[in-house]
Structures are given as C-alpha cells and as structure tokens.
Amino acid sequence: MAIVIEPYREEHQAAMQEFNRRLQAAGGGPDLVFYRSSQPHWLPRAENSSVYNEYFVALEGVAVRGAYALKHEKILVGGSDLHSVACYHHPLSEGVVSRSYAAVGGLLLRDALKRQPRLYALGMGGLDRPLAKMLAAMGWRLYLVPFYFRVVHPYRFLRQMRSLREARWRSVLMDLGALTGVGPVALRVLQGAARLRSASARPFLAEQVDGFEGWADSLWLAARSECSMTPARDSETLKMLYPAADKHFTRLRIKRDDAIIGWTVVGERRRDSKFGDLRVGSIIDCWAASGDKLAVLLAATEALQARGMDLIVANHSHRVWGQAFQSAGYFKGPSNFVFAASKELTELLQPFDQNKPSFHITRADGDGLPRNF
C-alpha cells in the first residue's frame, strides 16, 4: 500500500497513539514519540504568525508510519534581507520498528523539502546520529555549534561526571587535569582567572522583565548587522518564543547608565540522566551589540548562580559571543549540537564558511525550547 504524506489532523490522532506505542515498544527512549495532538501547543499557527509549527503524517491506509514537523520562521541574512525558512524537526519513522519501512525516513525528508526548500535542522545529538547522516547524504551543510560551560560547584560537578563516565565529559575532565585529583582546585583557579578578566567589565544593571516590548526592537535593529544570518529576534517574535505566561524562562533586561544594552533568557534544563543529580542552567538566548555582550553574559551567569545551578551551559555560533563567553569564565567544550542547512538554504548563506562564524544560533532555535525547558 502506498505511503501518503499529508497534514496531521485530529482524525489521525488515534493512529498516532498506536504509532507512538510501537516506537516505545521497539525500545525508543521517552523522546521517541510524536506529538499526540494534531494542534501544536508550542507555536501554533495564528493570524499573522511569523513563527509557527506545522505537523505532517505519513499514512499507509489509516496507519501512521511516520511523521515530522516544520517550524516556519523568518531569518535575516546580510543584516537586511528577511527570508522564510523552516526548521525540520521531530522526524520519526516506522523504520525504527521494522526495516520493511526503511524508505519512510527519506520520504519524510523529501516531502519536507518540497514544501519548503530552505530548511535547517538543529541539535540531533551529533554528526554520527542517523538524522545527521541522512542530511549529509542529501548534500546538506553540517557543522557543530560551539558549546560553552561554566562549573559553579566544582566538587559536585566532578563527582557526578566521574560516576557518569559520559564520553564527552571525560574528555573535558582530562583536559582540565581533573583526573589527577586536583580537579576542584584546578577548576577554581582556571575560572577564577577568567573572573579577574571579567571584573574589568563596566558596571551594569540586570532587571527581570515579564516580556519583550519596543525596547527589544531597538536592540534588534542596532545589533542585527553584526550577524551574517540570524533568526528574527524582534519583539513580536520574542513574545511568541517566550510568552509571558511561561514561567520556565527568566527574561533579563540589562542596562548601563540607564540605557538598555541587551537582553538574555535563562532557564533550568529539565533533569537529564547524563548530568546525574546536577542542576543545570542554560543561557538559552541573548542579544546585544558588540561592546555589551560580556555584560549580558555576566548578568545571565549571576542569575543562574543565584538560582542554585551547579553547571551552566550554552551553545552559540557567533564568534564574538564565543569570545564573550570565555571572558566570562566559560570553557569551550566538545559540542554535539549540529546545525544543518539544506542545499537551497546553504546557497542563500554563501559564502557559507566565511559567514558561519557570525551566524546567530542558540539553544532557542530549532525545537529546543519545549524539549529542554
């Protein structure tokens, strides 16, 4: 029977539950399920929405054999031109359950490209994961978005990381010389040295705000030319990404001499077995002009430390933000956060290698917000 891919509707929901049940029975983790509701709870489509989700199902008769989602949004390229793109996320295939359906994964991807040729994907857990490999096979451009971390409580951190023996963190610990047994001291010294550098940052004031208003638009206009590509960060988009009713996020507005110089969104990540019992905070998103990025990151760090985080993590693609992270006492660690651009999107972002160090991509992009926070 032929596979037909069409928008996910209410009539498909029962079959979707069965699909999810089969995925779980095949040993899929808790994230290996598609949305139960055909109507997106996160970023539903509304009139004049510039950011919204659409869901699609692959049907064999009345049975669901696959599904995927597109997050439609606007990106700014070259500091001035807005373009429509979409994030390809949550692709799931019956191929996980039965190899008879090995074709479904490729059919989902091709269908998505027909609907929106300018696609990106973000996250994926690393270049060696199946989706990343599939995108590479299709000729997409892939690279790892830099990862930064700051250890707030070194003793707890090292105790947890040693016991977890998670490969990525083991390489970090070895780099820090933690296996010699002087890890906590080494961490304090290394981060202390960075703190001395950041002490030279000019004074600032951070205030918690409930939402983003016109002041965010001024910042958007002032700093967007520093990015060769950035998803929209105007006030209307930010209101949709971080609705005031969502208490998972802490929104900070940073001022200096009464002038608003930037904003940041921070939050505590959902508990994850790879971090053991650690409380992990994330600098989810941030925005400021060049000279003010350090102050914004220091404000974010202080806010997360005050909330009792043991470890603070972030991903950011922009080179200048990366320098600010390191000035703020963050280490650069091994990343598994992949950004992948379809052929058409890559064409729009040419020269790609020259431009990518000034892409503005953070954990706020892709499908990370509801998944991780």
Partner: protein, 103 residues
C-alpha cells in the same frame, strides 16, 4: 499508477534486449548495493532487503536512492521509492523507468 519522473541527461542505457537490460541492470544495482551495504557482490541477490542486510537502514536506503538517481540520471518518485522493498524491486523500478525513457 503512472510514475512521474524527470530524465536529466538522457538514459545511460543503449537499446538492448530485455534480458540483457535486466541482467546488466541487476549487475549495476548489485555493485552499488555492495558498496553501500558493505557486502560482497555475491552476497547481494534479488531477495536482499533491509531485513536481510544489516547495514540497509533508513540512512542507507536514502543513500541508495541518491546513488541510483545519480548513476541512472533520473529522479525517483515517492511511489517508486516505496516499491524498492528489495534489490529485485529496485531493478524492476529502474527497468520500467529506463524503458519508458528509451521507448
């Protein structure tokens, strides 16, 4: 069902008898599959499928589609991709496509 496809640079096959076309086509597909699935050519039969070849997963299935499109200068439709349940199915899909292009 009518398959829609786009032939980019013309068929790579000249006029041959059906038997020779089939045999030659099978060998070409077998070579591609052997390389992709890391199996000796003798280990690839018409019945070889994702269920019998360990490395024939979703990623490699897509790679197979792309390799075939490049090798035979054609664009496979979703319906055709679905019919590629095993190597025999792959050959049959390509036979139909190439014969239509040359006919």
């Amino acid at each position: 069902m009518i398959s829609r496809f786009r032939v980019r640079n013309g068929s790579s096959c000249t006029q041959k008898s059906e038997h020779k076309l089939t045999s030659s086509l099978f060998e070409q597909v077998r070579t591609i599959a052997s390389d992709l699935f890391d199996v000796a050519p003798e280990g690839i039969t018409a019945e070889s499928s994702p269920e019998t070849l360990e490395k024939w997963d979703s990623v490699q299935h897509l790679s197979l589609v792309l390799a075939l499109e490049e090798r035979f200068h054609c664009q496979l439709t979703p319906e055709e991709i679905e019919h590629m349940h095993n190597i025999g199915g792959v050959v049959r899909v390509l036979e139909g496509k190439l014969q239509s292009a040359s006919g």
